[in-house]
């Protein structure tokens, strides 16, 4: 059980905070122990030096040569279908859900409350049935 996600050329990373927060980048080259040269041609991030503290490594990698140009990175990214695969991950879905939650309007919150209520009522009914079973035994 060792490390599976490495800072390496071609590693796809999620920018956790800073001006490009929420976007995916590919590590194109490593500057030193704390910074990398990252490029996100398919996510609108200009090629720049980013501190590793801002990056969260994903499980995806793309096949690029060290210091490849943005065009080559884009090709490799599209070939590996990174954007599509990212959208399908639980991580991306959770981020999307979090974002949706902050963008709810009052009516949406009302609908959410009603949906939660309905769900919880079903759970309570089932729990009651189980409780009755226990009492009977």
């Amino acid at each position: 059980m060792g490390f599976t996600r490495f800072v390496e050329i071609g590693r796809v990373a999620y920018v956790a905070f800073g001006p490009d927060e929420g976007k995916l980048v590919a590590i194109v080259d490593i500057i030193d122990q704390s910074r990398v040269l990252a490029d996100g041609p398919c996510s609108g991030v200009a090629r720049k030096a980013i501190n590793l503290k801002q990056l969260h490594l994903t499980k995806f990698t793309i096949q690029i040569a060290p210091s490849s140009r943005s065009g080559a990175v884009r090709k490799a990214w599209e070939k590996a279908e990174v954007s599509k695969k990212w959208e399908e991950t639980t991580w991306a879905k959770k981020l999307e859900a979090r974002k949706k939650r902050t963008q709810l309007n009052d009516f949406d919150r009302f609908k959410l409350m009603k949906a939660k209520q309905a769900r919880n009522r079903l759970i309570t009914i089932q729990a009651g049935k189980l409780r009755k079973q226990l009492k009977a035994n």
Binding site: F3, T4, R5, F6, V7, E8, I9, A16, F17, D29, I30, I31, D32, L37, R47, K48, A49, L52, K53, L57, P66, S67
Partner: protein, 176 residues
């Protein structure tokens, strides 16, 4: 706005001593790393005074240009020759830094000198900054990065910015 913690800027300053008679005086050009124009001019006169018999009173700055970064997306190795005053004397040093820009490397140098030698900016003189080819680098900490298949994990990751969970029931995982 000038911030001490921001990256330095590179200025090319050209100046010359004023002549009392109408004879031609030599013109001097310097490469100054400073946070803003005012400090740049000041440092220019500081160095020129040390190197040549010119003072700000007897001289003029002909041109000052901000040198912009030639390739901000290319990683380079920089060799920086420094002269600094320690508590008990003056020393020369050769230091290497890996960065994307000259100004970034020089800024790193100042921070590094402060950290490792407690040298303040006023006692540091940057003598020369040169881009060094990977094969000519001397410092192992720079040479270890010269590996096209370099990879390393981020072990024991402590995420300091995580404001959403300050108080948690269980110890957070630092794995990956």
């Amino acid at each position: 706005m000038r911030f001490k913690c921001a990256e330095l800027k590179e200025y090319q300053i050209v100046g010359k001593p004023l002549s009392k008679t109408n004879e031609k005086t030599p013109i001097y050009k310097m490469r100054i790393f400073a946070p803003d124009e005012i400090v740049a001019k000041s440092r220019f006169w500081y160095f020129l005074r040390q190197l040549k018999k010119v003072r700000k009173v007897n001289g003029e700055i002909l041109r000052m240009t901000l040198v912009s970064n030639s390739s901000p997306t290319k990683i380079k190795n920089f060799g920086i020759w420094v002269r600094y005053d320690s508590r008990s004397g003056s020393h020369n040093m050769y230091r290497e830094y890996r960065d994307v820009s000259t100004t970034g490397a020089v800024t790193q140098c100042y921070r590094d000198m402060a950290a490792r030698h407690r040298a303040r900016a006023h006692s540091i003189q940057i003598m020369k900054v040169e881009e060094v080819k990977a094969g000519d680098c001397k410092r192992p900490i720079i040479k270890q990065m010269h590996n096209s298949t370099l990879k390393f994990p981020l072990p024991h990751r402590i995420l300091k910015y995580n404001k959403k969970s300050i108080f948690v029931a269980e110890r957070p995982s630092t794995m990956q």
